[in-house]
């Protein structure tokens, strides 16, 4: 029952006596009597019993290591080098809290400063915060920030935004009275600039994703940014950082704010969480004042030595309370540090190579997929590839699963006009055998269906 975690459990009498209390109940005498009830919960168990129990539960999961899996759609199976996990599990990092006492928290502070710096290099912007909860919430905050900065209440996003992010965004802006406008995609599966021009009028911000939800590298990023700026809107780019070894930094393509998902570096799939939202902005005083989240800054100590500290805290809720830029307090520091360690290990060559591998694997995969499905858009894909099948995708999914293969993400519920289309994804972890198995089995399933 956890007494092994509670050193003074054995000394209650002694301590009560020392401070003049008679019993533990005296310490709870302020609780209104009628309210106290018995708790209907199991008694505590030994660590070994819980070990067996948790193992038994977890064994009901089948992992992507146990079945070739072609799921992406916003969560990707990347390999995390062992040293990254080892380092963030160091107890000094993982068991610490927000570095309020800078003098004994230089390790976490510097690690987060390095995270900010690495992301800054990646996205080509100078101001980066120490993380948001995830890409979706970062986007929500970006929309709110755009509205605050531009004092307008329209935020324009592509219709082919990730469904998770779409839902988060909508919840985040509700209270602020911001309206989301959606822009359709063109025949290349990219944002339709004509419609954008229309909708960007009066917009506080315009948002685009790189790659977009269809896995397509939007070619007209710069043009979209120009349209945003022509309409005095902030240009917000959402980015998968693993593409940034081969694709230009959004900051160099005109982005005012970059959001994205840091956990694609340094974190496992983890059933979708924890993640960490990237949030970076241009070095512009007006923007900085409106930026949400915690920021670590470099300064010096009393002896002039370089040191790190939380900074620009006047934007935050513990000082500005109801007027804070955001309510975010706990962030995803450790996930950010993991991303930093992974990024530092990759370096420029590693990140470029990672991008190249994924690009090539995706191209190869698309070619192979085209043997059994139609690829609706002619564009360059990264990780995700939409594929349209001749028979209901649910049938294919079901039969693949029976054969120990997990297919992709079914798009029809979100985009009915795409028909029997699923989003299938690969990364650097995808093995040739897995692709072979997929194609072979889909062929068989299609053949069977024809009979």
């Amino acid at each position: 029952m956890g007494k092994h975690y509670i050193p003074n459990s054995a000394h209650k009498e002694e301590m009560l006596r020392e401070i003049g209390f008679k019993s533990i109940e005296d310490l709870f005498s302020d609780i209104p009597k009628g309210v106290v009830q018995e708790f209907n919960l199991p008694e505590g168990k030994s660590e070994y019993e819980v070990f067996l129990e948790m193992n038994e539960i977890l064994n009901k999961n089948k992992t992507v290591l146990e079945m070739p899996t072609f799921l992406g759609a916003g969560a990707y199976f990347h390999y995390v080098p062992a040293h990254v996990k080892h380092l963030i599990e160091r107890s000094e990092f993982i068991t610490s809290y927000t570095p309020y006492q800078a003098e004994i928290s230089q390790g976490m502070l510097q690690a987060l400063f390095e995270y900010q710096s690495l992301i800054g290099e990646l996205v080509g912007l100078e101001i980066v915060n120490a993380s948001m909860y995830d890409w979706g919430t970062a986007l929500g905050e970006a929309a709110r920030m755009a509205a605050r900065v531009k004092r307008k209440n329209k935020f324009v996003v592509p219709r082919h935004i990730h469904p998770e992010r779409k839902m988060v965004l909508e919840t985040f802006v509700k209270g602020a009275g911001i309206e989301i406008e959606y822009v359709k995609w063109n025949e290349k599966g990219q944002m339709d600039l004509e419609e954008l021009k229309e909708k960007a009028k009066d917009a506080a911000g315009v948002y685009v994703e790189l790659p977009n939800f269809f896995g397509i590298i939007e070619e007209q990023i710069k043009e979209i940014g120009e349209i945003a700026h022509e309409n005095d809107a902030l240009f917000v780019v959402g980015v998968d950082p693993t593409i940034l070894g081969i694709v230009e930094a959004p900051g160099n393509l005109g982005a005012d704010i970059v959001v994205g998902e840091a956990s694609f570096l340094g974190s496992a799939l983890n059933f979708g969480g924890p993640r960490a939202g990237i949030f970076a902005i241009k070095n512009d005083k007006a923007l900085i004042r409106q930026m949400p989240g915690r920021i670590i800054g470099m300064t010096k100590d009393a002896e002039g030595k370089r040191a790190f500290v939380m900074t620009l805290q006047t934007r935050e809720q513990h000082i500005r309370r109801a007027k804070a830029t955001s309510n975010i307090c706990s962030n995803e520091a450790l996930v950010a540090v993991a991303a930093a360690i992974h990024l530092a290990s990759l370096g420029p060559k590693g990140l470029e190579k990672l991008g190249e591998i994924i690009l090539k694997n995706t191209a190869y995969f698309k070619k192979r997929l085209s043997e059994v499905a139609e690829i609706p858009f002619d564009a360059v894909n990264f990780k995700d590839v939409p594929a349209t099948f001749e028979i209901p995708y649910e049938v294919i999914h079901e039969k693949l699963l029976e054969r120990g293969i997990h297919g992709g993400f079914y798009l029809k519920p979100y985009f009915p006009e795409l028909g029997e289309t699923a989003l299938l994804a690969v990364t650097e972890t995808t093995r040739r055998e897995w692709v072979e198995a997929l194609v072979k089995n889909v062929k068989e399933i299609l053949d069977e269906a024809e009979l």
Binding site: G2, Y5, I6, N8, I19, G20, I24, S29, V35, L41, K45, M54, I57, N59, N61, K62, H86, E92, T95, Y97, T98, P99, G107, Q110, E121, Y133, G136, E164, M167, G175, A176, G177, I217, N252, L269, F271, G272, P274, R275, I296, T299, D301, G304, K305, A307, H318, A324, N327, E332, A333, I341, A344, S345, P348, K349, I357, L359, K360, T362, L401
Partner: protein
């Protein structure tokens, strides 16, 4: 010691990675105008990366380093068994969109955790989605909003918050579009019932309360408060930051709260990770279940499944299903603790706080305002010390670091001047409490005899007192800003 920035360790040509080769060397090109031109990341080898971050870690204080009595943060010991499951391959390697038949274990963990939380708080349903306490608060107030709008009570645009509340409470309320009405505390350090009576109206959407509150004081009038707010048509929101003080003793649901958030990283011992990831599940009473974020996790007697059928749902407050690894840790903890263990944790947490309070009380320079009986934490005021010696709460905090101890939360709650907010938790020993009291007494002595040593503290740390004013005046938040300023000769550090 001084550890350079990772960028400063870079030497061209070094590699710290290995990657598999592409499946096939397919020809494929990024459009020219989008091609990356340059990328200035550090080039370092794996041993250098490991040494660098190992050294940084050694410049950081964690729960395993010693007492960490940060008030309102519940820095309790993080059992290592929890890490074993958080890092389990059956957790690491599952995709959130997998066919639900292949992730029954994950769904069972979420479902089981929800059952525990329901019984612990007296709520009817939980979402595990929020990533942190504040994300939970936002969820909660959005549920309030949806509830009132759904009932056509569009005029309810005010949320009441006591002046002792966490800063996130008003911030969350504002984020959801509410006006924040702050009410004062009485001299006992509790909600002033008269002020509350005056504050409620047909515009009241609800009240956000922490109980025990941020002074560590249990709001004795909680049933009365609930009656007043409910009568006015408002809802009661429970900020679970301080749940550790009443765990297994009394339930928010039984006190009249309609919505609750729990900080798993506080109450249920998941590690704080230097600021996150945490988790802030939100529980509600029956009448609010329909507004919870999607998906919920349900069990049909045979299998667990994600339920997206929540017609009035506020939508999503975070991608996917929450910080799953944090949920795994919390469930592991709960299973080991059980009913008896949870109550024991609360009892000893409260005992430890009161023990410390009584031992320190009467020490020159520190004052114990408000009611004496505390729950899991106690707030002293160093106002007498400041007045008499010029030594401030900040100085006391910094001086504690010299003793190898972590400082308490300072300058919060705002209603106590020069506040020192101390929450020892149940996982520290009597000897550690005694040593902490001794250190605070020693500092008091120093303040009255040799205040300079306190004001210039810390002396024994890796860096001396850090200049946070300079950090704000001259913000340097990335390597690229630093390089630029350095080049211009504007920084000498």
């Amino acid at each position: 010691w001084d550890e350079p920035l990772i960028f400063e360790l870079s030497k061209p040509g070094r590699v710290g990675f290995t990657l598999p080769e592409p499946i096939e060397d397919v020809e494929v090109q990024i459009p020219e105008k989008l091609r990356r031109k340059s990328l200035e990341l550090p080039e370092v080898s794996e041993p250098e990366v490991v040494k660098h971050y190992t050294r940084l870690s050694e410049m950081n204080y964690g729960v395993d380093s010693g007492i960490y009595p940060l008030g309102s943060c519940t820095m309790k010991y993080n059992p290592k068994i929890n890490e074993e499951f958080a890092n389990h391959p059956k957790v690491a390697f599952i995709h959130p969109y997998q066919d639900q038949r292949t992730v029954q274990g994950a769904l069972q963990i979420m479902w089981e955790l929800e059952q525990w939380l329901k019984e612990i708080t007296g709520m009817d349903r939980f979402t595990l989605q929020p990533a942190a306490g504040a994300n939970g608060e936002f969820t909660g107030v959005m549920i309030m909003r949806a509830y009132h709008l759904d009932r056509g009570e569009t005029q309810r645009d005010e949320i009441i918050v006591p002046d002792s509340a966490h800063g996130t409470n008003p911030a969350s309320a504002a984020m959801a579009g509410f006006r924040v009405i702050e009410i004062p505390s009485n001299e006992q350090g509790m909600v002033d019932l008269e002020a509350l009576e005056n504050a409620v109206s047909e515009r009241t959407a609800g009240i956000m309360l922490t109980n025990p509150n941020t002074l560590g004081i249990f709001e004795e009038d909680i049933l009365e408060i609930a009656k007043i707010v409910h009568k006015a048509g408002g809802l009661l929101y429970y900020d679970g930051a301080n749940l550790n003080g009443i765990l297994g003793k009394v339930r928010p649901g039984d006190m009249g709260f309609d919505i609750v958030h729990i900080n798993l990283h506080k109450t249920f011992s998941t590690p704080h990770g230097g600021g996150g990831p945490g988790a802030g599940p939100v529980g509600v009473k029956k009448h609010l279940v329909d507004y919870l974020p999607v998906p919920l996790v349900d069990f049909d007697g045979e299998k667990y499944y994600l339920n997206y059928d929540v017609p009035k749902s506020i939508g999503k407050v975070k991608e996917f299903y929450g910080n799953f690894t944090v949920l795994v840790r919390a469930l592991t903890y709960l299973k080991i603790m059980g009913r008896d263990g949870l109550r024991e944790a609360a009892e000893v947490a409260v005992l430890n706080a009161n023990y410390l309070a009584q031992k320190l009380k009467g020490t020159r320079g520190y004052e114990l305002p408000h009611k004496e009986l505390r729950k899991h934490e106690v707030v002293f005021s160093a106002e007498p010390m400041r007045k008499e010696t010029g030594v401030k709460a900040l100085d006391v905090a910094k001086r504690l670091l010299d003793f190898g101890l972590h400082a308490p939360t300072i300058y919060f709650p705002l209603i106590v001047h020069e506040a020192l907010m101390i929450e020892p938790t149940e996982t520290v020993s009597k000897e550690e409490l005694d040593a902490y009291v001794e250190a605070l007494k020693k500092i008091s002595e120093e303040a009255y005899t040799n205040p300079e040593i306190v004001k210039s503290a810390p002396h024994n740390t890796a860096v001396k007192r850090v200049d946070d004013v300079l950090a704000t005046k001259k913000p340097i938040v990335t390597w690229r800003m630093y390089k630029e300023l350095k080049k211009k000769g504007e920084v000498d550090y």
